[in-house]
Symmetry: C2
Subunit: 339 residues, 2 copies
């Protein structure tokens, strides 16, 4: 049985027309309907200083959702660790896990957007080291008996105990995004669940899962397919015109992510993101290869190809956050994977 | 008509026996019942590293409560500003204000507990300056049109815009605790609402309100009694034995706050808290002077004395977080002030 989640990064594109309050309220309703329709999880981005209303206080927002929902798992994809005070972050994460009764999936990353590093005045070169430092802190906090201290290049904590304790033991699952073979093996070797991104066709996804699986098994552990999630753009399109419009939406999204990743001059190195602007034809080719595009029957076939490669957990990302698409997907696509 | 809120610092004293999960769930139910009983607000503390389960991620917890409640105002008393990244704090505060539809009361402080400064490795001498720095940042964030930068001794932000925007304009009311005439005047002169603490008898409360009122009026503004809240310990006691037990509970609380404020050797200066251990007789004298102690009729008289001094907003703090006390107070005391 394949599981389906939502990847929530897109909704706030509507922010230019709507008020923040309306965006948030609509999005809460959207998640509540997704839960009723049988979605297993929602994963939300964290972004800062964008100027178009992307969710910033993601753990706060998920904690609100914890009260509004009962079964759906609540995830970050990803929370950008280097922005946060490790102790406050660990407390907030545990509080969410506790109030959601163990429904928190803690996706973490090191950040990639130039404007965020610039805004926080944190050098991009420190991202990796800050990220590892905080992961070390969190694991210490969640596995130490009693008080502990932590001193690093970035943070000092003396004789602390982190409360509350999370419900999931020893801590909520940690998920990391990875694409290259090395980073996939790193995830497996270090006890992280794996988030595969929306770029890469079915062969790439199958290869990623296979690398992860082999690395897990090499440790003598049993591979659990629920520990690998893959995000796919969802572009339901019943006609050629709708398909063209859908490609158009995704092309705008890709250009937008790229421009947010780069410095204004475009020459600052970014963290693991494409540096070269793609042509529209290249973007369309990638969309046709990677996205869940087409009418429901085609989307089912695309999902079957992913499933054949070992994927059992897909997070769909609908750039328009359309209720209609959500319902169509739940009613016409999901039943084909229900048994 | 007098307004009543809850000051929620006490509940987690039960933490030594109960699980974190049970403590949080019970406390959510307690607040929900308080809303039904007509309480106007709940103000929660923020504390770290205590080892007995005090709420740490207070804004997260209030954001959860925002989803579980409809009318009750949600406050911090106080959020300790120096622990937080100013940008993340401002985002979290606005997210709570937005999701609660403008019900956030933002009480802020500089901290006073030795163990927290020690744990965060932040020198106590920096508390005041850090606090003012962050308040400056927040006001800038909530009143600037467009992007702004902020560079200080402690934080650097370049070209940022803080999203989402709060519902209350220009921002949620800022409340500060103050006791001395100078700090009360400072609050009035700088646009803060006033939180008077649980120490000080009716004359002291009346004097504090009068100082605040005169300072507000000296600016040509109209004094609004809803901008002054005073916390009182609530100790419902119908018999002499219950009264003695209630004094005992408060004495333990006072000793506990004092020991948490001080360094292990007791010789480190604390921020504005008593340095000398009080005898039990001195504690009982203060409790009889300051607390809402006694049977409901006596508590009504004590509140009338406060009201005569100009107080129209009382936050009650029940160290036992007893549902029975909550109901007795709502049904037998509050109606006397309902007209």
């Amino acid at each position: 049985m394949m599981k389906f989640g939502l990847f929530g990064g897109a909704r706030t594109d509507a922010g230019e027309q709507a008020s923040d309050s309306q965006i948030y309220t609509d999005y809460v309703d959207y998640i509540c309907e997704a839960e009723e329709l049988g979605f297993h999880s929602v994963f939300l981005v964290e972004h800062h200083f964008t100027g178009f209303g992307q969710v910033s206080a993601t753990l706060s927002f998920l904690t609100y959702l914890a009260a509004k929902t009962r079964t759906i798992r609540l995830g970050t994809a990803v929370l950008v660790v280097p922005w946060h005070n490790p102790a406050l972050l660990t407390e907030q994460a545990a509080t969410l896990d506790l109030l959601s009764n163990g429904r928190f999936d803690f996706g973490i990353g090191k950040g990639y957007r130039w404007g965020e590093f610039h805004g926080f005045c944190i050098p991009m070169e420190e991202a990796e080291e800050r990220y590892h430092d905080t992961v070390t802190f969190m694991r210490k906090a969640w596995t130490s008996a009693g008080r502990f201290s932590h001193h690093s290049k970035f943070w000092d904590f003396e004789d602390v105990v982190i409360e509350p304790a999370p419900v999931q033991k020893p801590h909520p699952p940690l998920w990391v995004g990875a694409a290259s073979p090395n980073s996939i093996r790193y995830a497996a070797d270090n006890g992280f669940n794996l988030l595969l991104g929306q770029a890469g066709g079915p062969e790439t996804v199958a290869e990623g899962i296979s690398i992860y699986r082999r690395a897990i098994e090499a440790q003598g552990r049993v591979f659990d397919p629920a520990t690998v999630g893959c995000t796919r753009a969802l572009l339901i399109a019943n006609t050629a015109a709708e398909r063209e419009a859908a490609r158009d939406i995704r092309a705008k999204f890709m250009a937008n992510v790229q421009s947010l990743s780069l410095s204004p001059t475009g020459d600052t190195p970014t963290l693991g993101r494409p540096r070269k602007m793609l042509s529209r034809a290249e973007m369309d080719e990638l969309t046709e290869r990677d996205a869940l595009i087409g009418p429901p029957e085609e989307i089912i076939q695309r999902l079957k190809a992913l499933q054949a490669g070992g994927l059992e957990y897909v997070m769909v990302m609908d750039f328009t956050a359309s209720r209609e698409h959500l319902r169509t997907f739940a009613r016409e696509v999901m039943p084909a994977f229900a048994e």
